[in-house]
């Protein structure tokens, strides 16, 4: 007798994608310590083959199989992988899985070593089964069984009987109850049982059968039936295929012929069961001619309705190019402002907000991410900071006019976010046109510049914030200017202690502004 584990063994399996039969056999083999090289895995062909079980384990004195392993454990990942790989049609899959199972007993991390030859092969098989499943979901084509269906097949299977059964008819001739569909598909692997639940979840309100040479699935609204018996192609047709073919021919763009790209995703082996596939050679052959015809076609006069459409699209009123006389008109005109290149990058102009006779006017730097999206000033994090502190000193933003020196958001995209960028002198100057207009129309008594950009714009000259901070300065036109920091500055201070200090200073500024504005 050969030493234990080396004795040659033949295991014959049904091999139609059932995981259980392999698992049972593999467990028994591993229990008695049969080496992977000693097993001959075979697939049963036809009903006459004998199913040879592995021999019963020889028991040792303790009543356990000789050479038995204390216990067999495998990582969960292996089970998932094996359940998929077992559906592959390669006869070598049983042996490969058993060898991997054997190796896993000593090399627990084997599956992580994705460059190991066995693991590479297993992963490739798994991918192939997944791809076949995916292609089945993509390329199954249902034909309706009913008035518009006909068959040219002469085979007589159970499926044919189902198809031949007439749909129940109402007196009007319209079928009642559930509609019935049939599909013929030819998969590479034993995937019908894997893919069938997908079709059940998707085509729940119709009866259907999917028949293949590797088994069939059927759904009748209550039960999903899957068999592994091979079926025949009943060769049905469906009138709707004509419309689908029309769609397929016309959605194709002859100017972009990429035949290889098509074939790598829709290999020829699938073509014979796709109603659109026989159009392909003609579409390819005619593509060049179509493109040439397009290029040579002389430009014709526009159709009659074009003139009418043009006329209707003409602006109804004369364009108003004068300086807007009201805040509303200014706001409307600012929407289309292109005075500086920022307008091409921002979402919209964020104009000022508040009563048009406000005595107090706050000027910030520019809108941020949130302001840019919503089209309103000071609603983002800096605006919230401003509101909180203003609330603490009883300063009501509702009575003030709030605006920015620059009315488009300037930023740098960084992945899914936008990073704020400081506007430059040119942008500030270009946008000053609007700020001046706002000042002239509203005539505030006190203007608060928050931050250096606002100060620069109000003064029309680059100024240092520290020279003006927390001071009331009289301007030429009878207005007063008060300068403080921009609230977003407070958000950016990393040191908590300093941050508190600066917030206190900002609060004192707002307190001073409140007092000043009460005397206006």
């Amino acid at each position: 007798m050969q030493p234990l584990g080396l004795e040659r063994q033949t295991v014959t399996l049904d091999g139609k994608g059932h995981f259980g039969e392999w698992r049972e056999a593999a467990r028994r083999l591993l229990m008695v310590g049969t080496l992977p090289a000693a097993v001959d895995w075979r697939e049963k062909h036809g009903a006459t083959d004998l199913f040879a079980d592995p021999p019963p384990a020889r028991l040792n004195a303790e009543g356990k199989p000789e050479g038995a392993r204390p216990e067999i454990t495998v990582p969960r990942a292996f089970m998932t992988l094996a359940e998929t790989v077992i559906c592959h049609s390669d006869p070598g899959r049983f042996g490969l899985l058993y060898r991997t199972l054997w190796r896993l007993q000593a090399e627990r991390n084997l599956l992580d070593i994705v460059s190991d030859a066995d693991v590479v092969r297993l992963n490739a098989m798994e991918k192939s089964v997944r791809r076949d499943s995916h292609k089945m979901k993509a390329f199954v084509r249902f034909k309706e069984i009913g008035a518009s269906t006909s068959t040219t097949s002469t085979s007589t299977t159970d499926i044919m009987e189902v198809i031949a059964r007439p749909a129940p008819l109402e007196t009007s001739g319209i079928p009642i109850g559930r509609r019935r569909f049939f599909a013929w598909f030819e998969p590479d692997h034993f995937i019908v049982a894997r893919a069938a639940p997908f079709f059940q979840r998707r085509f729940t309100d119709m009866d259907w059968i999917i028949a293949t040479p590797k088994g069939s699935a059927a759904w009748d609204g209550t039960a999903l039936t899957v068999t592994s018996e091979p079926a025949d192609d009943p060769k049905l047709t469906d009138d709707a295929d004509t419309l689908w073919r029309t769609y397929y021919s016309n959605i194709f763009n002859p100017a972009r012929l990429k035949v290889k790209a098509m074939q790598s995703e829709m290999p020829k082996k699938y073509w014979k069961n796709l109603p659109e596939a026989d159009l392909i050679p003609g579409l390819i052959a005619g593509a060049e001619e179509k493109v040439r015809a397009m290029a040579e076609q002389a430009m014709k006069d526009p159709p009659a309705f074009h003139a009418k459409v043009r006329e209707a699209a003409m602006p109804k009123t004369e364009e108003n190019t004068a300086r807007p006389g009201t805040l509303e008109a200014a706001r409307a005109e600012a929407r289309d402002c292109t005075r500086c290149p920022l307008s091409c990058k921002a979402t919209q102009t964020v104009f000022g907000e508040g009563p048009d006779d406000a005595k107090l006017m706050f000027v910030g730097e520019q809108p941020g991410d949130q302001e840019d999206l919503a089209g309103r000033p000071f609603i983002g994090p800096a605006g919230k900071m401003f509101d909180t502190i203003a609330g603490e000193v009883d300063l009501d933003r509702k009575h003030a006019y709030v605006t920015n020196a620059v009315k488009h958001f300037k930023y740098e995209p960084r992945g899914k976010r936008r990073i704020h960028q400081k506007p430059n002198m040119g942008e500030i100057r270009a946008c000053r046109w609007w700020l001046k207009l706002e000042l002239d129309l509203i005539q505030p008594k006190l203007v608060v510049a928050m931050g250096a950009t606002a100060l620069t714009s109000v003064m029309n000259h680059a100024e240092r914030l520290s020279d003006y901070r927390s001071r009331k300065v009289d301007l030429d036109d009878g207005r007063a200017l008060y300068t403080t920091v921009h609230p977003s500055y407070l958000l950016r201070i990393p040191d908590e202690g300093r941050k508190r200090e600066e917030i206190n200073r900002f609060r004192e500024d707002l307190q001073a502004i409140k007092s000043l504005s009460d005397t206006l």
Binding site: T204, G221, L243, T246, L257, K258, M262, P302
Partner: protein
């Protein structure tokens, strides 16, 4: 005489082919098990067919009508074009979608339209189609609606309740280009629509205070499309615009569509072969930006005229211009640097990071992972491999560039 359904399908699918997107992925997972109706979406999209142009056919992509009051030069349906016109009724689009779906031709509907009468009138009809499918027919497949420019916020909001994805095309990379070629479209209006949609999607994603439930609103987000090669914008400008759109509006995708000659084309446009390779390179650069940690300026900085190299993929071109960053040790380098190695995709990088925890990797390991050694070996160090002189070779570029072709006599 009224055209048959088949004739109109031919016209209105022909008119829809210039929209590149056919994605049906990235939406919520749902099916009809409980409802007993029709349709499901299970995460990944499914391409039910491929046309000989290499494009996936996943959705029934049609226009509701190709009549249009706009006159955009690049568009086959512009009002001055002599293309044959047709229109579907709401019921016909619903019928076609459901019958195509039942035969497993498609994942759902991608509906766009020329603008008839007004933006709101057009959008209203499109929303009606989506509502019919979802509410009357209990349809759970994928729906992508193209928002009509300047349509009212209320209609867009309703569209988002039924559609998986909403999109509005930016069309051209610069405002100047759009103003020139599409005089009726307002670039700022398009950006505003995208901004509004982002805010709405974010608002609906937050659970409500009362019910704590997340409401379904355009779960597959928004996307857009840019035409490449119709105007003079270079790749650097195009990619800069994409980066801004991704950063500003949370777009899932920016599609690039090589400008393709259209019948009865406007004289303002180049009637040349669509720049398919350029389009391909832009997609590669877009991927580098979104999944490989590259900045747009890094990708285009070393390229003359701001155009991507047509002979080399953008990562390889970057690596050749930045040789001082190589070779990279595949057993030690961090994920960020591995992703920058030409020839390594995100999956390979993941595999390397997993495998090297257990063994030191050699070139043979990479071969088994189906990595092209020809492409990577100059840029990496592995156990038993150092590309000592390779990376410094002055002719390194010629090792990768395609063989020069003999000029075709025209």
């Amino acid at each position: 005489m009224k055209k048959s359904l088949k004739e109109r399908l031919a016209i209105l699918s022909d008119a829809a082919k210039y929209d590149a997107s056919c994605a049906s992925s990235g939406t919520t997972k749902r099916n009809s098990s409980a409802s007993g109706g029709l349709g499901s979406t299970e995460g990944s999209g499914i391409c039910h067919a491929y046309a000989p142009d290499g494009r996936c056919i996943s959705l029934l992509k049609i226009l509701m009508t190709n009549f249009c009051i706009y006159d955009c030069a690049y568009c086959i349906n512009r009002s001055s074009s002599n293309v044959e016109r047709a229109r579907f009724s709401v019921e016909e689009v619903v019928w076609l979608t459901l019958e195509f779906y039942r035969r497993n031709y498609i994942e759902g509907l991608f509906l766009s339209s020329g603008i008839i009468r007004s933006s709101d009138h057009t959008m209203e009809e499109m929303v009606r189609i989506a509502r019919e499918l979802r509410v009357t027919h209990n349809f759970r497949g994928y729906i992508h609606l193209k928002s009509i420019p300047e349509a009212s916020a209320a209609l867009i909001e309703e569209a988002g309740l039924y559609a998986d994805r909403l999109s509005i095309n930016i069309e051209l990379p610069t405002d100047a280009g759009l103003t020139r070629y599409a005089p009726e479209k307002r670039p700022a209006g398009i950006r505003k629509s995208m901004g509004d949609l982002r805010l709405k999607i974010e608002e609906m994603r937050d659970p409500t205070l009362q019910t704590k439930r997340i409401r379904r609103f355009a779960p597959a987000g928004q996307s857009t499309q840019m035409i490449v090669g119709a105007d003079q914008a270079n790749d650097s400008v195009i990619l800069g615009t994409s980066a801004r759109l991704y950063g500003s509006y949370g777009l899932r995708r920016v599609y690039y569509s090589a400008f393709s000659p259209i019948p009865d084309a406007s004289r303002n446009l180049p009637l040349v072969k669509p720049p398919l390779m350029r389009e391909h390179r832009l997609y590669q650069a877009d991927w580098l930006y979104r999944f490989y940690g590259f900045g747009i300026d890094e990708i285009t900085r070393d390229q003359p005229d701001g155009m991507l190299d047509l002979d080399l993929d953008p990562k390889l071109a970057w690596a050749l211009a930045n040789r001082q960053r190589f070779p990279v040790d595949i057993n030690k380098a961090d994920r960020e640097m591995l992703l920058r190695v030409p020839g390594f995709g995100t999956k390979i990088v993941r595999a390397i990071l997993t495998a090297r925890r257990h063994r030191t990797l050699r070139l043979e390991d990479l071969v088994r992972l189906k990595v092209s050694l020809k492409k990577v070996q100059a840029f990496i160090i592995a156990e038993g491999w150092t590309p000592s002189r390779l990376i410094d070779r002055p002719d390194l570029r010629t090792m990768f560039a395609p063989k020069p072709e003999q000029l075709v006599l025209l």
